[in-house]
């Protein structure tokens, strides 16, 4: 674009219009420049390409989701990882870890379901999610998984209070508590069977969109989310379970953290220009913090985890926060990438240049 072009005449090219002052449809020329801030630490991996847009307006639409949805991702992962830990603890005879993780699984799946429903435009219609089973919809598959997972995790968690419950119930209802106690293990194991799905489908959920930062990360996102689920659950387990029983949680935390960092690195280096969105703005801050926390948490575990309850809590909290940071960071990167037409147009142009147009082919 020639520099002397008066502001606001015709469609603009260049990185304008990322700033959306009044929602997606507003913006454009004369409304302030976008986020091409100088002074960022990281320089773009891919140099700015000139591109054309319609008054700097987005091509794809950012999701209408707010904090509910990354919370839902985070809580879902936490629930999944916790129920896996719970099953292991159950099978390996770690009642403290079992109890903590079973309750964590229930609590976080509760948060997960709550945020999912809360985010709906029409929460009263939440049950419509169960009208159909759609393999083409990760949200549908996920909802069904949660629907299966939730009660199972619930039974397992409630069973932790079965003895106390039994004492309080009137005699004619005590059988329920006994039944609960009997059902606890199978429920917990079944929940753990569903859990890996619960922990990873959210990665598919956001990857299965036209949001550039999410779709471009589709190869790694399931891994990132699975790893993140593991670190979160491990972190919480370390916080809530007795140090003595928390060995598996520590191990899970370390493996998860390592996997998380590797997967994130791979993701960032495979996304082309869109990876900028993981480095800039609030997403960049979150991702950087998340890496530091995850790494720090893992190191904490490695060095101090087993020795000190305080250290365990600190490391666990770091892992937990790192996981949350990952989910929130990726979420924000996606939103930002949708608002800036560059991230939609440039990769598509490159694709067309590289391999011609896309036919209906397998990726």
């Amino acid at each position: 674009m020639s520099a002397d072009r008066p502001a606001g005449v015709g469609p603009v090219s260049g990185g304008q219009g990322g700033e959306q002052d009044r929602g997606n449809r507003r913006g454009g020329p004369g409304r302030g420049r976008g986020r091409r801030g100088g002074g960022r630490r990281e320089q773009p991996v891919v140099p700015d390409a000139n591109f054309v847009s319609y008054y700097g307006r987005p091509v794809v639409r950012a999701s209408p989701w707010k904090a509910d949805i990354p919370t839902y991702f985070f809580a879902g992962g936490l629930a999944a990882g916790s129920s896996l830990l719970a099953a292991g603890a159950d099978l390996t005879g770690r009642p403290g870890l079992r109890r903590a993780t079973r309750i964590a699984a229930l609590g976080s799946v509760g948060v997960s379901l709550y945020t999912l429903v809360h985010d709906l435009g029409r929460p009263a219609r939440a049950l419509n999610m169960l009208r159909v089973i759609k393999p083409t919809s990760p949200m549908s598959m996920g909802t069904w998984s949660l629907t299966a997972f939730g009660p199972l995790a619930g039974v397992a968690a409630v069973a932790e209070v079965a003895p106390a419950l039994e004492r309080r119930l009137p005699p004619r209802l005590r059988w329920t508590a006994r039944l609960l106690a009997v059902a606890a293990r199978p429920s917990g194991l079944l929940a753990a069977a569903v859990a890996p799905m619960v922990g990873t489908y959210t990665g598919v959920l956001i990857a299965d969109t036209a949001t550039p930062a999410w779709h471009e990360g589709r190869r790694e996102l399931p891994y990132v989310f699975a790893a993140s689920a593991a670190t979160a659950a491990a972190g919480l387990g370390m916080i809530t379970a007795p140090v003595a029983e928390a060995g598996p949680a520590r191990r899970m935390g370390m493996i998860g953290a390592a996997a998380d960092l590797v997967a994130e690195y791979r993701m960032e280096t495979s996304m082309g220009i869109v990876s900028q969105t993981l480095r800039e703005g609030s997403a960049g801050r979150l991702m950087r913090a998340s890496k530091v926390l995850t790494l720090g948490g893992a190191l904490g575990v490695l060095v101090l985890g087993r020795r000190s309850r305080v250290a365990a809590i600190a490391s666990g909290a770091a892992l937990l926060a790192g996981s949350a940071g990952t989910k929130f960071g990726i979420f924000h990167a996606g939103q930002a990438s949708a608002l800036d037409p560059r991230y939609t147009v440039v990769p598509q142009r490159e694709r067309m240049e590289g391999g011609g147009s896309t036919g209906p082919r397998r990726p």
Binding site: L130, R131, V132, I133, K134, P135, T136
Partner: protein, 219 residues
């Protein structure tokens, strides 16, 4: 209602609907619960031709009975767009004494059923919620409107015409040539008036001797 123009569209209103895989459950339909169950899209998905639940299986009962309101209108009245002078034909759909849809009349050789944004917005023109539907009066020096009866307003206006007309009456000019007119009453009409309206306005005011009768054609 103008009888001449009312054309009620008698075409078949039933929409073509397609089998969605529910037939197998015919025998069970007697039971409400099973009906509800069989109506569950998941079941339709699993038993019909739409395993992925993206079409027939996902259709709701309300969608199935969704009908264009032009189909359920009581009458279709032939009209003409009131905006510009192209004179596009309009079909006005009426239901329960209310205009429910206005769209282009494909019969018109001038417009061939098409309308511009203004013509397309004419339903909003006639059904505007902010349209003033009552007679309002502002008295001299008044700071707000007052509501008065339509008949009262007409009487007041007639009184004022009858009063102002002689006050500004001119019988002849200074040379004694007949003028036979009043200069105290003027009118300005929009060009969305019907010919018949213009005719009566011109006729009445000319008979009253008022000559400053103008319209938008001059503007």
């Amino acid at each position: 209602m103008a009888a001449a123009a009312v054309i009620v569209d008698g075409t078949d209103r039933t929409r073509r609907r397609f089998v969605d895989g529910l037939r197998f459950g015919d025998g069970l339909r007697a039971m409400g619960l099973s009906k509800a169950f069989l109506g569950w899209p998941v079941v339709r998905q699993l038993t019909g031709n739409d395993p992925l639940g993206r079409g027939a299986a996902a259709e709701s009962k309300r969608t199935r009975s969704w009908t264009a309101r032009t189909e359920t209108a009581d009458a279709v009245v032939k009209s003409v767009c009131p905006y510009c002078a192209v004179g596009c034909g309009q079909n006005v759909y009426v239901k329960d004494g209310r205009v429910v849809q206005i769209e282009g009349d494909p019969d018109s050789p001038v417009s061939r059923g098409r309308l511009c944004p203004k013509g397309s917005a004419s339903e909003q023109l006639v059904n505007a919620p902010n349209r003033i539907k009552h007679v309002l009066y502002r008295r001299p020096g008044g700071t707000d409107w007052e509501r008065i009866e339509a008949e009262q307003a007409l009487d007041m206006i007639a009184d004022r015409v009858v009063e102002s007309r002689p006050r500004w009456w001119q019988d002849t000019d200074e040379k004694g040539q007949p003028l036979r007119r009043t200069m105290g009453i003027a009118a300005l009409g929009g060009a969305t008036l019907d010919n018949e309206e213009n005719y009566l306005i011109k006729k009445l005011f000319t008979a009253l001797g008022a000559i400053q009768i103008e319209n938008q054609a001059r503007i």
